[in-house]
């Protein structure tokens, strides 16, 4: 099981997913990220999925719940680098990433976070995600 390195850029944590993500690796990523947010006091998270060839419902949910967990730990999440084919497939699959923010690339993702923080000094939930859980038995 490959770990996903987490880099720190000032007050932002950067995860760059390079591997063909197994479910266990995705869960490990989510766990490691939560620990790092608390350890570093980071205010933002950028998840770079440029290398991801697919996002299925499991990985999509991990992205959505990661954003929710980060939000509870007071950090905002932006997913960057989603391929056009992945976006089309996600929508046809029927998956909503909830309120996960997306940006074209790392630069735009960082800019988005800075803008949100500047504008939202009085409202830090401005890019807050919510996860819509499916109905289940």
């Amino acid at each position: 099981m490959d770990a996903i390195p987490i880099l720190k850029l000032d007050d932002v944590l950067l995860l760059s997913i390079q591997v063909d993500l197994s479910d266990q690796t995705a869960i490990a990523m989510q766990d490691a990220l939560a620990e790092r947010i608390t350890a570093t006091g980071a205010r933002g998270v950028v998840i770079d999925i440029t290398a991801l060839e697919i996002v299925d419902s499991f990985i999509g949910r991990i992205l959505a719940t990661t954003a929710s967990v980060s939000r509870l730990l007071d950090a905002d999440t932006v997913v960057v680098g989603m391929r056009p084919a992945v976006a089309i497939t996600l929508v046809e699959l029927g998956l909503s990433l909830g309120e996960v923010r997306t940006a074209l690339n790392l630069e735009k993702g960082l800019a988005l976070l800075r803008r949100a923080w500047a504008a939202g000094a009085e409202d830090s939930r401005s890019i807050a995600p919510t996860l819509h859980a499916p109905e289940s038995r």
Partner: protein, 138 residues
Amino acid sequence: MTLPAAGQPQRQPIASDEDVVRVRQLVRSVAVAVKLSLIDQTKLVTAASELARNTLLYGGGGTAEVTAVQNGARRGVRVVFADEGPGIADLDLAMTDGWTSGGGMGLGLSGSRRLVDEFDLDTEVGRGTRITVAKWSR
């Protein structure tokens, strides 16, 4: 309907998390070989990932069989997922968007049907489940 097979089937056992990743890689390699568009490759691999995970989680493991197929001028990929698990008692319910008996998103079956051109599901309670999907070049 999918008719004459243009290639030898390739089998991938599904017994672990990493096998699901291997199914994706195998399906992608055949999709590239038959020249599906990048978007169609992505749709098919995503559907395969959903169905392979179901084979593992609900079917108790099984196999994926991936074949390059031909129908007149059109080439395509057919994937058969088979397990000898508990089967699916209420198929209408299982195919409903958002319904899951586990902790999933409930989009694996319904969503992957939308992503492929052919979707055929054969299941018997106590005997197992067999799902055949195909995606064709345009």
